[in-house]
Symmetry: C2
Subunit: 198 residues, 2 copies
């Protein structure tokens, strides 16, 4: 027995976190044992508190502490423009750009038959309802530019267009600061097809 | 505001962990919001439980749930042989070798004037008392082979030798599987000076 039972349990729980292997779990556990008790307690309470208070926004399925999330409650945002993302953390990424002032819709993932995720597992029905009810002008599909995200975008476009709503997809291309020499050919091909007038 | 308050607090608490930057903290927070509530609760409880139950071993200052740690309570270990380490996690590293069947003594760090850690901040007095009282035959100094650990080892040797106890230092040299070409010259120099008959 390398650890006393309470430490062994802590290491085990920490090693369930994503990207945390046994070595990191041990480092984190010993850190939590060494810091002032208040600091360790704060972390534990933040976990419990978040799980107690945070649920999904009734409208867009972002994380929310009230019925509606920050964005859905913000009257200054444009409700006719909706950005569809796979997960709540993707909202954080879009917000950081400062380029978007509409609302969001979190699908809860992307279509991936291999993982058993079909359209029914995602909040697609709820998106279509929003489009019908909320007078949405444009849906920007910002699923990840991978196979699953692209398939989901195509699937959504086929459902949304008949509703008469403008449906757009975020651009794929070279990252800013990138280098043609090191770009993969699929990305560079997309960048060429998606070229814009200058 | 990128996150709802309870999520913001969780991200902030997680980012206080060593090696966890804001991006990782966000990933961990969203993970903890997504997993079954029971899993998140288990982690929080493991933290609280560890801080409640775990204190220091009265004899060797390893982490312990009782007065004495696992090793100090284990009658099959040789109490005349003591391995001195800087931190409790160093005990785990020594134990994993399977080469040591004695007891430990955790200093709580190494002498480092730049960090304000002098000999008084470490459990050196307690080590000397153990040597006087417990009939210790050999003290193996296994502080880290860095400047602070080496200085601490020298300091301990000067105090321990007059007490008539054999004082040894773990070997420095090339790591097993290492390569002379890539070894730094200090390590290779140590390996040469520490050569053994074959």
């Amino acid at each position: 027995m390398l650890y006393t039972p309470a430490v062994a349990r802590l290491v085990e729980e920490l090693s369930k976190l994503p990207g945390v292997g046994p070595k990191t779990a041990q480092r984190l556990a010993f850190h939590l044992l060494k810091v002032p008790e208040e600091e360790a307690r704060s972390l534990a309470e933040a976990i419990l508190d978040a799980r107690e208070k945070v649920a999904y926004c009734r409208r867009c399925f972002n994380f929310a502490q009230e019925e509606l999330c920050e964005f859905c409650r913000d009257g200054r945002r444009d409700p006719s423009l909706v950005c569809v993302v796979e997960r709540p953390q993707d909202i954080v990424a879009v917000e950081k750009t400062g380029e978007f002032r509409g609302l969001y819709h979190v699908l809860g993932g992307a279509i991936s038959p291999i993982d058993g995720i079909g359209p029914e597992e995602l909040r697609i029905r709820e998106l279509l309802e929003r489009v019908r009810r909320e007078g949405i002008r444009e849906v920007i599909v910002a699923t990840n530019p991978r196979v699953e995200g692209e398939a989901t975008a195509m699937y959504l476009a086929n459902l949304l267009k008949p509703l008469g709503v403008r449906t757009t997809r975020i651009a794929s291309g070279l990252p800013v600061g990138g280098d043609l020499e090191y770009a993969d050919e699929v990305t560079l091909g997309r960048a060429l097809r998606g070229r814009l007038e200058i």
